[in-house]
């Protein structure tokens, strides 16, 4: 539709895409340029780098595959059952995705570690203990983090199947196997590759989980190799080469998934089970109940232990922790606003002509090494302005970039739907530019906007981000304060701070997500 000009969307989308390119490839370029000017690029990759590459691909690939494979039956169970507390369970099960890594690892260890409750149980039964450390531990950790995302994306797919189709299937007397073949599999083919891609990209840049749960240097990821290049070898050229390699892998993964529809992050109501006439057999009921319970136990037990360990010190936390929590809240809100505005601008551009470029720009942050991004930003900003003045602002910016791809996944399909249903009417009435944004798009996108705001705020809350590279002010952010407490032996206070972080992240997500739904009529 050539004539449906949307200059607001086009210019803002273009500017956002350029900003993202600058923030990701530009910072990488700054590091590479600096390396070049500081005595030649030493870009060659050694055997250790190739080992890191192999391990990175292995753990990311397995984690993505397993997360999605487990998410399918869990999402199906959640899609076709209604039970008391279902809505709360779905919300809570999303929590691991927004946890800071260090908190999640300690929570996981409290369950699966050598001193965890699982091994205590095994010992009580006279069984040999299980070790979490190794490739399986890395995958366990990644699945813990990403299963919530996969469940959410796939559940969304299930709920987007029109109820009429299940009614038709019931009228035709379809058995569950036929329903799976005729109705569910086509949906999964559309949703699953994109969900797997997103998780693969997330796992690509992880390193704390891989190292801690991997049990040693064989669990070295590219991100850790970048870390080593920066601080052990101070070889910026090598760091830049590795970061470029990371982009290349992400690019290849995206190309692989190019023809597949990227999934829509959950925006529509997840509190509506699909009425099903085929799933009433006691066997299927039991199966769904078991699956739901297992998933809930897996995702919620570590959370529960974080809560119980943090409760004793939560209310007696030193004042500075609360100050840092306030800093983090400001950063999270700024980051959420920024991420959502940028995602909206990009979404407007993606629903216009030449979407592929904007789509790719929107995925760039997932492939970015936080360390390279922070260092590059530092190199760019340092000659112009004192970086320590910008610590919180830059943290908000980088956190926003990290959250943007997820907001985008929620906004694009919703925006397409709005344009499909009411775009012509708006055109016929001459609603263009800001008027269209204000009167049509923003009100119709309240749910995905709320979801995007909530997710971005929560992710920002828990992300250490680049703040340490930018000389944070007195209070720092809450995750930084958490590390400071641990660094000062104060592990009990750290447990309290972790709980505070969990509560604030979750509350932010919940408030925005629900706010987007409140009286958002049809």
């Amino acid at each position: 539709m050539a004539r449906r000009a949307q200059p607001v969307g086009r210019y803002a989308g273009g500017a956002t895409a350029l900003g993202l390119v600058a923030l990701t490839l530009g910072t990488l370029g700054a590091v590479a340029w600096r390396a070049g000017s500081a005595g030649g690029l030493t870009g060659g990759l050694g055997p250790a780098d190739w080992a890191a590459l192999r391990f990175t691909l292995l753990q990311a690939g397995l984690s993505a595959a397993l997360s999605v494979a487990l998410a399918v039956p869990v999402a199906r169970a959640l899609a076709r059952r209604w039970f008391f507390g279902r809505r709360a369970l779905i919300a809570l099960m999303g929590a691991p995705f927004i946890l800071p890594v260090i908190v999640a690892v300690l929570g996981l260890l409290a369950v699966f570690g050598r001193g965890g409750i699982l091994n205590a149980g095994l010992a009580a039964l006279g069984l040999a203990p299980l070790s979490i450390y190794g490739l399986h531990g890395v995958i366990l950790g990644n699945v813990f983090f990403n299963l919530p995302l996969a469940v959410r994306l796939i559940l969304q797919g299930w709920l987007s199947i029109p109820a009429e189709r299940f009614r038709l299937a019931a009228a035709l007397g379809f058995a569950p196997a036929e329903i799976a073949r005729q109705i569910e599999r086509p949906m999964l083919r559309e949703i699953v590759p994109g969900a797997a891609l997103a998780i693969f990209l997330i796992c690509l840049t992880s390193f704390a989980i891989a190292l801690t749960l991997g049990g040693g240097p064989r669990a070295t990821t590219i991100e850790l190799a970048i870390y080593q290049a920066f601080r052990f070898d101070f070889d910026l050229g090598h760091a830049a080469t590795l970061a470029a390699l990371q982009f290349a892998i992400s690019g290849a993964a995206m190309l692989l998934a190019l023809r597949l529809t990227l999934p829509q992050a959950s925006a529509a109501g997840l509190d509506r089970p699909v009425e099903r006439w085929d799933a009433a057999s006691p066997w299927l009921r039991a199966q769904d109940a078991v699956l739901t319970t297992l998933a809930a136990l897996f995702l919620l037990t570590p959370l529960a232990l974080i809560v119980t360990q943090g409760l004793p010190t939560l209310l007696t936390l030193p004042g500075i922790v609360w100050t840092s929590a306030l800093n983090s809240l400001v950063v999270a809100l700024a980051s959420a606003g920024l991420a959502t505005a940028a995602a909206l601008a990009l979404a407007l551009a993606i629903t216009g002509p030449r979407p592929a470029l904007y789509e790719a720009a929107g995925m760039l942050p997932l492939a970015t090494s936080p360390l390279v991004l922070g260092t590059g930003l530092f190199l760019i900003l340092n000659p112009v302005v004192d970086p320590s003045r910008l610590a919180l602002a830059v943290t908000a910016l980088s956190n926003a970039a990290v959250a943007l791809p997820f907001g985008l996944r929620a906004l694009v399909p919703a925006l397409r739907e709005v344009e499909a249903s009411h775009g012509r009417l708006a055109d016929a009435l001459g609603m263009q530019g800001l008027a269209r944004l204000r009167l049509l798009i923003l009100p119709r996108l309240r749910r995905p906007l709320g979801f995007s705001m909530g997710l971005a705020a929560a992710l920002s809350m828990g992300d250490l981000g680049v703040v340490t590279l930018f000389a944070p002010p007195e209070g720092g952010t809450l995750p930084l304060q958490l590390y400071r407490l641990m660094g000062a032996y104060r592990m009990n206070d750290a447990a309290g701070a972790a709980l505070l972080l969990l509560i604030l992240s979750f509350a932010l997500f919940w408030i925005f997500d629900r706010g987007g739904r409140a009286d958002a009529e049809a």
Binding site: R231, A334, M486, G487
Partner: protein
């Protein structure tokens, strides 16, 4: 959507810190994050120094010692630092090579197990790395890496690529076993539960019961004794010695406040500064204090102190890392 409000808030955040009027000269001291944190020596150091200097002391922080050096290297001659405090002996050779640091003035009599000859960097605290354990659980405390390797004790260590203690352990094994370091790592592999990115995760995991021992400092038990009144932690002293960490400060040659910087460098080795060290950084002071050290500091003193001359570190660390990685990757 309250975007304009958020943007305004963010702007205020940015400008707020710029708006402070400062009339006194400002001495900018780069340090690692935990030095300047509420629980580190930073706040009291600032108060004590500002009493006498007629200046404002401003800390600018980077993650840890290695991040601090990276930052100085990234800034080069344009650095705004007057003094850098928080590098250690594994970093000083590289730091020296930047040519950014000036020689220090004469030092008072130091109280350290090694002779200090570095002309550029001034030590401000030191300690020994050690495996810390729970006395109620570990009855047969190993006295060497060999004994540790023979035992079934589980340890959690830090990664030398991302953490200072991790690098310390790497150098420790290399110092004791030389060419046989790789073989020693191989025989230790079964003891190592996991390798963490940093000290905090490792120590946290140890306290949660994930391992019998954790690579930390000989002074770690002192924290538990003095702050938590918990005497259950011990530090294993090895017969062939424990490796040392010496933390240092250096003056930036191009400082715009040479007098203030010199005054601060001098202040570092005075009692006013040094008495803060034991209960904030939980390390040993570099001079003899007029008051006794906190409980636990004298209990765990190894007989032999190991330390590579800092100039040797860059020559051996890559090889040592390769041995470590190969041994533990199998």
């Amino acid at each position: 959507m309250k975007l304009p409000m958020l943007a305004a808030g963010l702007l205020a955040l940015v400008l707020g810190s710029a708006a402070q009027a400062e009339e006194k000269p400002v001495l900018t001291v780069y340090t690692y994050d935990s030095f300047a944190s509420k629980w580190g020596p930073g706040p009291e150091v600032k108060t004590a120094f500002e009493k006498t200097c007629g200046c404002t002391l401003k800390f600018v922080t980077a993650g840890d010692g290695a991040a601090l050096l990276s930052r100085i290297r990234l800034e080069g001659k344009r650095t705004k630092a007057d003094v850098v405090i928080g590098l250690d002996t594994s970093l000083t050779a590289a730091a020296h090579k930047t040519g950014l640091f000036a020689a220090h003035a004469s030092l008072p009599k130091l109280d350290m197990p090694v002779k200090w000859t570095d002309p550029t960097f001034v030590p401000f605290d030191w300690g020994w790395f050690a495996f810390v354990y729970d006395k109620t659980k570990v009855k047969n405390v190993p006295h060497s890496f060999e004994e540790l390797a023979k035992s079934n004790l589980k340890v959690v260590i830090e990664d030398p690529r991302s953490s200072t203690p991790g690098l310390g352990l790497l150098l420790w094994v290399k110092k004791v076993y030389g060419d046989k370091a790789g073989a020693m790592w191989k025989s230790l592999a079964h003891n190592i539960v996991t390798v963490t990115p940093g000290w905090d995760q490792a120590y946290g995991m140890f306290l949660k019961g994930e391992a019998d021992m954790v690579l930390s400092y000989t002074t770690s038990p002192a924290y538990h004794i003095n702050v938590e009144h918990d005497d259950s932690k011990g530090a294993a002293l090895f017969d062939k010695g424990n490796y040392m960490e010496v933390e240092v400060a250096g003056k930036i040659a191009g400082t715009k406040h040479p007098k203030l910087a010199n005054a601060f460098m001098h202040f570092i080795t005075t009692e006013a500064f040094q008495k803060l060290i034991p209960t904030t950084n939980w390390m040993y002071p570099v001079i003899k204090l007029s008051t006794p050290l906190p409980k636990g500091f004298d209990e765990y003193r190894p007989k032999i102190s190991l330390l590579y001359p800092s100039a040797e570190v860059p020559k051996i660390k890559d090889k040592a890392l390769a041995e470590w990685r190969d041994a533990l990757s199998q």
